[in-house]
Symmetry: C2
DNA sequence: GTCGATTTGTTCGTATGTATG
DNA sequence: GCATACATACGAACAAATCGA
């Protein structure tokens, strides 16, 4: 697929869709680097701003992680450990606050799970590390 | 706090941190508008791209919603309806794909909950609308 | 340790389109 | 129609971080 500058969908969204597909199909593997901004601008014939917005979009989706002066990398989600939801507990999912993201060293685009146990205790978990379960 | 162009943390991240704090402390109230891009560039002495990326970051965190031709507004989270997790079910939280966000009409920065029931059925829920519970 | 190549961060200028009031 | 404000897009330039020779 190529990019159509005259489409009603923004160029940067088209590029993000293209890269997302390459990630989801495994054409770009977890841990490997995205092509540099310069390469992406050349190969797709778009401006650098479109490239940067496309990468920012993928970052906000938790698909890639960008390191300044180095590159953008496909995030690999760690094994999800199973966490049992105790009786009487409740959970909400949301994006972390700035403090939480720094304290928990979360990458961009990683939600948190706020687990409230029946006694009022609250626990905040990185959403990409856990799978909540209710045993049968 | 002011912004340090020579800091190792990107200017747009510093600005986002600054605005995020104003939101979290209630200095900027839900429903109210952020200062315009022009005001933010002037008042903080940063470039337009920095302002736009900062706002985009807050948007990706679900803190603000931008209305084209009008401004950016502090998001207010809707009521959460309680959803009971059936026995044998499991849940993961993640950011939605582009398709999902369009299909479910999710604002940016809203995670989804992927609920898998014991028979293999999968349900995707907007995370800002639900609170998962396991009854006592 | 220094240098240079690569890559992302930041700013500015410019332009067009779209939505609101 | 007009003014304001955000959205998209390209080009150019320099700064800063990283890495390897």
């Amino acid at each position: 697929m190529t990019i159509d500058p005259h489409s009603h969908t923004p160029v940067y969204v088209q590029l993000a869709n293209l890269l997302r597909e390459q990630i989801e199909t495994g054409e770009l593997r977890p841990g490997s680097a995205l092509p540099s901004e310069a390469r992406l601008t050349q190969e797709h014939g778009v401006g650098r701003e479109a490239v940067r917005m496309a990468v920012a979009l993928l970052r906000s989706e938790g698909l890639v992680k960008t390191v300044r002066g180095h590159g953008s990398y496909i995030r690999q989600t760690p094994e999800r450990r199973q966490v049992e939801l105790v009786p009487g507990a409740s959970v909400v999912a949301r994006m972390p606050s700035g403090k939480e993201r720094r304290a928990m060293q979360l990458d961009e685009g990683v939600p948190v799970l706020e687990v409230r146990d029946p006694r009022g205790g609250v626990e905040v978990l990185a959403a990409d590390e856990v799978e909540l379960t209710r045993p049968a």
